[in-house]
């Protein structure tokens, strides 16, 4: 029984079926998204340690230059290289979005499944808190929190996490409640499998996959929201570079140097595009494909 020999090796494998990833790669739009997203992640990692020119050292003699070989996207009003600024900003824009989504995903998953599986008072208290947090549109709540805490990158991240966690908690709760009633969970309970093993083996992987898909679909919006807040000066503070903040700076000179808008807008566009492509493809691929 060679097949069963292989079977033994698969015990500890995670919820994401390797075939989902294979399908994602075979999905035409998914592959484009993965490639563009991978390239952006590489640029973000690179930009954190190396850029062609120093991203935040002014050089007034070199201000507002047209795009050239040395400066493919031109230079800004203080003569800083736009390409270097955008590369430097990449890890803040993308990293912040991933960080916020990771945080709301983890909080939501833990709070939601805890509420759903524990039930009773725990459930009531946690879900009332979530309900209250959900009465406001996420962005309005984020503005309010920022208004109280004051502008700043860290405060922005806190505000966005406060604004969003409850949605993920609600979703995780309803998914775990649903999972708890699934026949395979009842079968495991009747077989005498202890509760923690059911939660880890049967319930959590499925819930995490579903919530993860929702989070991946939200990535593009999150990148947009973070750059939007920074555009308003409520996120990353100068001289640090961030795509939204770069748009705000470039905007002041659009009459003289309209090309300055291209690089940060293009970077936002490509990152949201790749996030959308991957998110949509993941949703397609993770849906069970019945023969």
């Amino acid at each position: 029984m060679t097949a069963l020999g292989v079977a033994g090796a698969g015990v500890g494998r995670g919820p994401v079926d390797r075939r989902v990833l294979t399908r994602l790669w075979r999905h035409p739009a998914g592959r484009v998204g993965l490639l563009v997203g991978g390239a952006l992640l590489f640029v973000a990692a690179l930009g954190a340690v190396w850029t062609p020119h120093a991203p935040d050292v002014p050089n007034y003699a070199n201000a507002l230059k047209r795009p050239s070989l040395a400066h493919p996207f031109g230079t800004d009003a203080t003569g800083r290289d736009m390409l270097s600024r955008v590369m430097d900003g990449a890890h803040r824009s993308i990293g912040a979005a991933l960080l916020v989504l990771g945080a709301v995903f983890a909080t939501g998953l833990v709070v939601g499944t805890l509420a759903g599986l524990a039930g009773g008072l725990t459930d009531t208290v946690l879900m009332r808190i979530a309900d209250i947090a959900m009465t406001l549109p996420g962005l309005v709540l984020a503005f309010a929190v920022l208004g109280l805490l004051g502008p700043g990158f860290l405060n922005l991240l806190i505000a966005l996490i406060i604004a969003d966690w409850a949605w993920y908690a609600r979703l995780s709760r309803s998914l775990s409640l649903d999972a708890r009633r699934r026949p395979h969970v009842i079968a495991a309970r009747m077989a005498g499998i202890p509760g923690w093993r059911i939660v880890l083996g049967h319930i959590l992987p499925g819930v995490a996959l579903q919530v993860g898909i929702v989070a991946s679909l939200a990535l593009g919006g999150m990148i947009g929201a973070i750059s939007g807040f920074s555009f308003l000066g409520l996120g990353v503070q100068p001289p640090a570079a961030e795509w939204g903040a770069l748009l705000a700076e470039s905007r002041l000179y659009f009459a003289l140097a309209p090309w300055l808008l291209i690089a940060p807008a293009g970077a936002i566009f490509l990152s949201v595009l790749s996030a959308n492509l991957v998110g949509n493809a993941l949703r397609d691929c993770a849906a069970p494909q019945r023969r």
């Binding site: 395979h184 009842i186 309970r189 009747m190 005498g192 202890p194 083996g201 494909q289």
Partner: protein, 480 residues
């Protein structure tokens, strides 16, 4: 041509080159009921779509297809639109699915006339519904489809399909979404219109009872056709024999002389919402080792509640439950459910779902090799020895999933198995196989409680059948 429908060498080719239907030829005389029967994947629905001209744009249909004397292969879509509805009516499998949920039932019936630019009065619609056996049709037809029962709504669909008195009706599994006891009356309503009928079904029993002529489909080919009596007495093709075998009685098994009692419920009641809802009024159940006890009744009669009490996951509000020590330990009672796909952990390979009862704490430790051997044996026992144990539930058909679920329920040789409508999602060969597997488990000494609305299935599989109605167990039939 005399026939209302005739096809010659009808072949359907998908864009990718696959041919789900090949060289199918048959003809249907006026007023005749011609049945196409076959298992899942035999090409039944593909033929139905081709007969209606509803295949996808990139699918090609070749051969000849005469409807009312006109060859419809390759004609423009506009011409199809005039033929559909007027020359042939269509009744689909699921009556609720067939109706626009936002519109009333009479709108649904009227739409069949209106889409050909004709008007029909509400009064006429009510008359047609009454003629098909819908009581109080004038009032009920104003309601929306989701408030109707399946049998009644299917009659409304038949009325819509017959709006232009077409010489031909195409019915794709018209009764498989309905309870078994309603199916025949709906078929009778369909045949009462006097049109010729192409009846597409997986259910050999139903087809033999109703068709004037039948064709057996297998792998996209029409492998055999003839009259029901001819095919039933001298089947030529293995597929025909396989479908007929599903009608055979389950092989008898040795019964124990004095089976020891495992579980006894007497006068058990269950109520919810502080007594306002009585799910179970008074129920008795006696389960013994190696016995199959069937519980039969319409939906809402409390049979699922009774089953949950027997599974000991529902605490009764009254009456007594006696359980022997053999069923008290955890893992002694294992379930089989109605939904085969949901019964298996979607992200696990099937071997892991099957082996799970062996890994419960309190059971003796089992080595990996022994476990793999047991899984392989269990798979072989349910006739899935060729399936890769690493396959996921989504790789399997619904029938195969249910067999995996049976393997899981039997692998640890529990004292008792409880099965809730285990066959209602299955086609007849799979149903037959599951019946046999339950019998095998009972032969090994496991008690089986099986709940179903399908009395024919229960009579075949169970030693005794308990009928239920309105929260009460009634008479018990069969051997005690």
């Amino acid at each position: 041509m005399d026939a209302v429908l005739a096809c010659k060498d009808l072949t359907v080719t998908y864009a990718g080159g696959a041919t789900p239907v090949r060289d199918v030829s048959f003809s249907v005389a006026p007023g005749e009921c011609f049945a196409l029967v076959g298992g899942s994947g035999a090409g039944k629905s593909t033929i139905a779509r081709a007969l209606l001209g509803l295949h996808a744009r990139d699918t090609s249909v070749t051969g000849a297809l005469w409807i009312g004397g006109q060859d419809m292969v390759g004609v423009p879509r506009r011409l199809w639109q005039t033929v559909r509805g007027r020359q042939m009516g269509f009744v689909a499998q699921n009556p609720w699915d067939s109706c626009n949920p936002l519109r009333s039932v009479r709108d649904h019936v009227a739409e069949a006339s209106r889409c050909h630019g004709l008007q029909i009065s509400w009064h006429d619609i009510a008359d047609r519904l009454e003629a098909l056996g819908v009581a109080d049709a004038g009032v009920r037809a104003r309601q929306h489809p989701h408030t109707w029962s399946g049998g009644m709504l299917q009659r409304a669909s038949i009325a819509a399909a017959g709006a232009h008195a077409p010489p031909l009706m195409i019915a794709d599994e018209p009764t498989s979404a309905l309870d078994a006891d309603r199916a025949q009356s709906v078929l009778d309503a369909l045949k009462s219109l006097g049109s010729a009928v192409v009846l597409i079904s997986h259910d050999m029993g139903l087809v033999l009872r109703n068709a004037d002529k039948l064709g057996v489909l297998s792998g996209g080919l029409l492998v055999e056709q003839g009259t029901p009596s001819a095919l039933a007495s001298t089947p030529d093709h293995p597929e025909t024999r396989r479908l007929l075998a599903a009608l055979a009685p389950v092989p008898p098994r040795a019964r124990r002389a004095a089976p020891e009692p495992l579980l006894r419920l007497s006068n058990v009641s269950v109520s919810y919402d502080r007594g306002r809802v009585e799910a179970l009024v008074s129920a008795d159940l006696d389960v013994r080792a190696g016995q199959i006890v069937g519980v039969q009744g319409p939906s809402g009669c409390g049979k699922s509640t009774l089953l949950r009490v027997a599974m000991q996951i529902e605490r009764p509000s009254g009456g007594t439950v006696w359980a022997s020590d053999a069923v008290k330990r955890p893992g002694a009672i294992l379930p089989i459910f109605q939904d085969p796909v949901g019964s298996l952990v979607p992200h696990w390979p099937i071997w892991r779902s099957i082996a799970e009862p062996l890994m419960a704490p309190g059971r003796p430790h089992i080595s990996r090799t022994l476990r793999d051997e047991k899984v392989a044996a269990a798979l072989a026992q349910v006739g899935l020895g060729t399936i890769d144990p690493m396959a996921r539930p989504s790789d399997l058909s619904v029938g195969q999933c249910q067999r995996v679920a049976v393997a899981r329920a039997t692998i640890s040789e529990p004292a008792m198995i409880v099965a809730d409508e285990p066959t209602s999602a299955l086609d007849s060969p799979s149903t037959w196989l599951v019946s046999k597997l339950l019998g095998d488990a009972a032969e090994r000494g496991t008690a089986v409680v099986v709940v179903s609305h399908d009395s024919a299935f229960l009579e075949r599989v169970a030693d005794k059948v308990v009928a239920m109605s309105a929260g009460r167990t009634l008479n018990t039939s069969g051997v005690a």
